[in-house]
């Protein structure tokens, strides 16, 4: 029972991180139909900031968490301003290729600055388990799940209830009509990048908590799997990203538990292939009607 529970918690933890990253993918796709392949690398930026602040500067983990989230947010907005905004009216393929370019730029930039060897991110806290009656649960796992729940609720409220959130939905549906309402489309898109990247920043901290590592290419596989999660749930859908993330997390957990951990990446991508064949729009995806 104990093992079962801790495995479920592991699945939830991993799934939560995927979900946080998938949310960023899905939000950016929802508003400008861009698969932001540099999104995973933002996690890497956050992990390095955590490492810098704690291991190099010896500062408090709280400061590390805050600075990681701030750095990810700034990098996300900067990427949009520098790389994507000038291509707003360009064909979608141009901006997609740019996203891949930005991804390589970040990965190789990090390698140039920090070297190819992984850095060890110190533990954020000495507490490793919390007791729930007789059961000892992993503290980082519990925190990860709780933070993800709170972040998802906050994001849902933001998008559904706030003026800016409604503007985001308006822009995602019809940019021209949104302009006519007096909505500044460019700053709304920047805001979307900021929110998505802040979530990635939170994901980065939680990831560093669980895997205590920062390396230049760490965002690649993590980002790709989060992308699978977003597609699985239905890209553009917020609940879809969360559910997709959890499915991917659990799939990996089950495969690992069965002693087949070398197969876990293959299983995730197999899931993607199955979804693309059976229901290409994903679980919560709507069939997009072409805008005229």
């Amino acid at each position: 029972m104990d093992i079962f529970l801790s495995q479920v918690l592991n699945g939830l933890q991993l799934g939560s991180i995927y979900a946080l990253v998938a949310l960023g993918y899905t939000m950016v796709y929802g508003i400008i139909l861009l698969l932001n392949f540099a999104h995973g690398d933002i996690i890497m930026v956050g992990a390095y900031v955590s490492w810098l602040v704690m291991a190099q500067l010896g500062l408090n983990p709280i400061i590390a968490i805050l600075l990681s989230v701030v750095a990810c947010t700034l990098v996300g907005v900067l990427i949009d301003k520098v790389a994507y905004a000038p291509l707003r009216n360009a064909p979608r393929l141009s901006i997609l290729i740019t996203a891949i370019g930005v991804s390589y730029f970040l990965e190789n930039g990090a390698q140039l600055v920090f070297g190819a060897d992984p850095k060890v991110v110190p533990a954020f806290t000495d507490v490793s388990t919390i007791k729930l009656g007789d059961i000892a649960l992993s503290f980082p796992a519990v925190v990860t799940v709780l933070v993800t729940v709170v972040a998802t609720i906050a994001l849902t409220l933001l998008v559904q209830k706030s003026k800016l959130g409604k503007a985001m939905r308006a822009v995602s549906e019809d940019m021209g009509a949104a302009r006519l309402m007096g909505i500044n489309v460019n700053s709304t898109i920047s805001f979307t990048f900021a929110v998505g990247s802040a979530l990635a920043g939170i994901g980065a901290v939680l990831y560093a908590m669980a895997y205590t590592q920062a390396s230049p290419t760490m965002g690649m596989m993590l980002g790709t799997k989060a992308f699978v999660a977003a597609v699985l749930g239905g890209i553009g859908s917020i609940p879809g990203a969360v559910v997709g993330g959890l499915i991917v997390g659990f799939a990996e957990m089950i495969v690992t538990w069965l002693g087949l951990s070398v197969w876990k990446d293959a299983v995730v991508f197999l899931l993607l292939i199955i979804v693309l064949i059976v229901k290409p729009t994903g679980i919560f995806g709507k069939t997009m009607s072409e805008k005229v």
């Binding site: 003026k163 409604k166 503007a167 939905r169 308006a170 549906e173 019809d174 021209g176 009509a177 949104a178 302009r179 006519l180 309402m181 007096g182 909505i183 500044n184 489309v185 005229v292």
Partner: protein, 235 residues
Amino acid sequence: MALLSVRDLHVSYGAIKAVRGISFDINEGEIVTLIGANGAGKSTTLNTVAGLIKPESGTVEFDGASVVGVPAHKVVQRGMALCPEGRRVFTQMSVAENLEMGGYTRSDAENKETLEKVYSHFPRLKERRTQVAGTLSGGEQQMLAMGRALMSRPRLLMLDEPSMGLAPILVQEIFEIVKQLNEAGTTILLVEQNANMALSIADRAYVLEIGTIKKTGTGAELLVDDDVRKAYLGG
């Protein structure tokens, strides 16, 4: 002084010249209509005035100040609202949210007040305020698009083909509301293919043909004009 004054406006899409040097004025309190066939440059003119398209040359002055080069989202703040062709309501948002977006540049207190006015013009929108806009009928969507444009409290309301795709009885209703809005003090610039309807409510009209103004006069004059009758009113 005219509320809106357009002088020698030229607009191109790449190599295609859509508007070739048109000039017109709209005075406060008027209903002015631009009529003409498909491709005459009517919508292009409206979209340019609203700031969605940059003109090649020419001037557009609203209330004495140039709006050329002012982005669309700032034009709204100057007091012009465009209700676009094809309605373009936010189909996945509720009626109330659509209206809220219309009042994006206004304060919550102002919006509360304007909302009551909009609901009094369009009681059906009030009944359906929680409904998702995509599930409304064409006529209701048109009303929503107009109500949404009114939420910014425009001095000049530009309507692009409000009758498009609507049953005759609904067209009547929409035009009736346009007249009411005008009587309540909103200046109207109306673009229509339904020339008969447009001319019958317009104070003045301009006839557009391939990007230029062919004729101008009062609505009543053009309704009985031989050329206009032949070309746009079915003889």
